[in-house]
């Protein structure tokens, strides 16, 4: 109902006026964006086409697509690329499911609601590095509390080194990533749900809609736009994140959690190959844009159909 295609030029006088006025509001936001965002970004992209390395007064030469040619044969980078995509999608989906569920719960009139809502924010309230350290200490085999609880309750999996074991490391890290990503999703979806005019809900109850129908025809459309935005953003963020993974496993064990952002970071800051690292960044960016382009087109098509 709210996503009917907007006709930019309406005949009614009110429509014309408010349309014209509206776009002026966008300008202030774009000035600092352009100055401090466009220029560095363009420079960074430009670096991908040079042979720049770290150094004092080092000479920078334009080398065209050489970095990219080298990248094509870099099997380690592509391995990390695959890991990055699995990571981004898994964390986003898991966080979405968990966060959506929590938002629905928080929308009810429960006791200790305030406390619950505050608690739902905890994972985001801490710097990611602290989160990583905290979880790695929690998951320590034998001396960490989680393992102690597992042992006391005789649960299967007691004694596992969740972050060090080849099979469990990646899923564990994904779970922690989802833990960190949940709050934004929970709060944003909750805000969207709270934004539903209460008359709409009451009217639907009068019309005889049950809980499931209300969910499907009122809640879901209302949060569709924000969920779409959240999924897109999360996939982007997760794909380029590395701080959490770095502290948790440093890309190990055996390279199982080596995400591409960590790869590019090492290339730039550890080995000083700025040009090569920038080319990795460009490839990563292109991949994301492609993935998102597909996703957005698909969701837009759905919108129009409605």
């Amino acid at each position: 109902m709210s996503n009917v295609a907007i006709k930019p030029r309406r005949k009614s006088s009110g429509g014309k006026m408010y349309n014209r006025g509206a776009w002026k509001y966008a300008i202030p936001a774009f000035i600092p964006l352009v100055l401090l965002s466009v220029v560095p970004l363009v420079q960074a992209i430009w670096t991908a086409f040079t042979d720049q390395v770290a150094g004092y007064n080092v000479e920078i030469k334009f080398i065209g697509l050489d970095n990219f040619r080298r990248l094509l044969t870099d099997t380690m980078f592509w391995a990390s690329f695959r890991i990055g995509i699995i990571w981004a999608v898994s964390v986003t989906l898991l966080a979405l499911v968990l966060g959506f569920g929590l938002a629905l719960l928080l929308n009810q009139k429960l006791r200790f609601l305030g406390l619950m809502r505050v608690l739902s924010l905890v994972p985001w309230a801490m710097p990611p590095v602290i989160v990583a350290i905290m979880w790695s200490l929690l998951l320590r085999p034998s001396s960490g509390p989680i393992d102690q609880i597992f042992s006391t309750l005789r649960l299967p999996g007691a004694g596992t080194d969740w972050l060090g074991n080849f099979n469990t490391a990646f899923p564990t890290v994904i779970l922690i990533g989802a833990w960190v990503a949940m709050p934004i999703i929970t709060v944003s979806i909750l805000a969207a749900i709270q934004g539903i005019p209460s008359e709409m809900i009451e009217a639907s109850i009068i019309d005889g809609a049950n809980a499931w129908q209300r969910f499907r025809y009122i809640t879901v459309p209302a949060v569709r736009a924000i969920t779409s935005a959240l999924v897109a953003l999360n996939i982007i963020w997760q794909f380029s994140s590395f701080g959490l993974v770095f502290v948790l496993t440093a890309g190990g064990p055996g390279g199982k959690t080596f995400v591409p952002a960590l790869f590019a970071y090492n290339e730039a800051f550890k080995y000083g190959n700025f040009g090569y690292a920038a080319s990795m960044g460009v490839v990563m960016a292109l991949a994301i844009v492609l993935m998102l382009g597909v996703y957005l087109k698909a969701s837009k098509r759905e919108d129009v159909q409605r």
Binding site: V58, D74, G164, G252, F258, F269
Partner: protein, 433 residues
């Protein structure tokens, strides 16, 4: 006919006036300049110190310096050790680097190659004879000193003295008296009824295995040329240390498998609880061991450095460097020499659980830690450190992080064979070059 004379007089007067003017200008400018040159300068010293003791010591040293040198003050800036590389890279690129900073030798080598570090050879000449040549060389590149080694760690086997006493096993002491075979035998001896003899935090084994490789004269890279070309060859010497560790884990079963994925300091709680008779770790854990000793009387010691063909280990000391972009290179060097005075250096090193580099500070450290057998052993072992030649190879770091680390992790966890380990090391090097 009076005119030419008058003119001459006038000219002479003018010249006299001008010269007096010029002279007074010169005198005033010199007078103004001198106080300007003597005004206070402030240098920044970036340190990754974070332990309580080290922070207190650093502040004391800087306060002492500032009191003695009120015109060349030093300001401490605390950095965090895990992000020093980022901070330095951007600071150098943006010309806002600290005047003096402390970092480990292996990490500053790239900066030296990039020309960002000042040449300290002249300034530090008096210190050269105070430390072993092997250690001194680690801070140099292309015959120029870019980082003064201050303190180092070694990889040692730590032992639970009470456990040894109870089993009636004598504790090895001295130097060169503890071989890998001895280590294997001891580990086996202490592996009884459900207990493991050794815990070894092998989550990130690459650096350790390269450094310990020097026990068997493992060279890895040969033919380092001026243009940076090298070949990697992995032979029996290079595979000796990994295969011995593998043997202890899988053949003898004397190393606790749970410790294989722990970080270097991970096995400490278990060690303190008496679960293992020995752990293999870097000597910086001595600080934690001392805390336990003080709180519960835990009796620990360090065994002599492991010996293969030799007991040499690759050195990666902490170093102090001066930025090439610094405006006060001479004063910065003077501050470094002050920090390295025997008493200061000994205090700093001991606070970190490390061995100080200079002979004088080593003596003071040994005095201070007289009552601890473990410390005596650690401090004695400092002489066995030498420059690890592979650190000079371009691309070594990338190979170590992206090829060796995952391969070693898989080998240690029993996922690949030793021939596969060798293959991966060689193939990985080829793809990086």
């Amino acid at each position: 006919m009076i005119n030419p004379h008058r003119k001459k007089e006038k000219i002479v007067k003018k010249v006299k006036l001008l010269s007096i003017l010029a002279a007074s200008v010169m005198v005033t400018s010199v007078a103004v300049a001198i106080p300007a040159r003597a005004s206070t300068i402030e240098m920044t010293y970036l340190t990754p110190a974070y332990l309580k003791g080290t922070v207190a010591t650093t502040e004391r040293i800087v306060a002492d310096w500032n009191k003695a040198n009120p015109t060349t003050k030093v300001k401490i800036v605390y950095g965090d050790v895990n992000n020093m590389d980022d901070k330095l890279t951007t600071a150098f690129a943006g010309n806002v680097a600290p005047d003096i900073f402390q970092h480990e030798a292996a990490s500053i080598l790239p900066f030296a190659k990039q020309g960002y570090l000042a040449n300290l050879t002249q300034e530090m000449r008096p210190l050269k004879s105070t430390m072993p040549a092997g250690l001194w060389n680690v801070g140099s590149y292309a015959a120029k000193l870019h980082g003064v080694p201050t303190m180092t760690q070694t990889y040692s086997v730590f032992a639970n003295v009470d456990a040894f006493k109870k089993a009636g096993v004598p504790i090895p002491v001295g130097s060169g008296t503890f071989t890998w075979d001895d280590y294997r035998a001891l580990a086996k001896k202490f592996t009884t009824d459900g207990k493991y003899g050794v815990a070894w935090g092998l989550r990130s084994p690459a650096a350790m295995s390269m450094i310990m490789g020097m026990n068997y004269n493992a060279k890895f890279f040969r033919g380092l040329t001026a243009s940076g070309g090298t070949t990697l060859s992995v032979g029996a010497a290079e595979l000796e240390v990994p295969s011995r560790i593998h043997q202890m884990i899988y053949t003898d079963k004397s190393i606790d498998p749970a410790s294989l994925t722990m970080t270097g300091a991970g096995p400490i709680p278990g060690f303190l609880a008496g679960k293992y008779a020995m752990i293999f770790a870097a000597t910086y854990i001595a600080g934690d061991l001392d805390t336990a000793a003080k709180a519960s009387g835990f009796n620990w010691t360090a065994l002599p450095l492991l010996k293969g063909a030799t007991n040499q280990q690759g050195a990666n000391p902490q170093t102090l460097s001066v930025s090439a972009q610094s405006k006060y290179k001479k004063q910065a060097a003077a501050f470094i020499r002050f920090m390295m005075q025997d008493k200061n250096l000994a205090e700093l090193a001991l606070g970190e659980g490390l061995t100080p580099s200079t002979a004088g500070s080593l003596k003071i450290a040994q005095e201070t830690k007289k009552g601890s057998a473990g410390w005596q052993q650690i401090l004695d072992d400092g002489a066995a450190l030498a420059l690890a030649p592979f650190t000079l190879v371009p691309g070594y770091q990338k190979w170590k992080d992206t090829v060796l680390q995952p391969a070693m992790q898989q080998y240690i966890q029993g996922k690949i064979s030793i021939s596969e380990l060798k293959k991966r090391q060689l193939d990985g090097w080829k793809s990086i070059r």
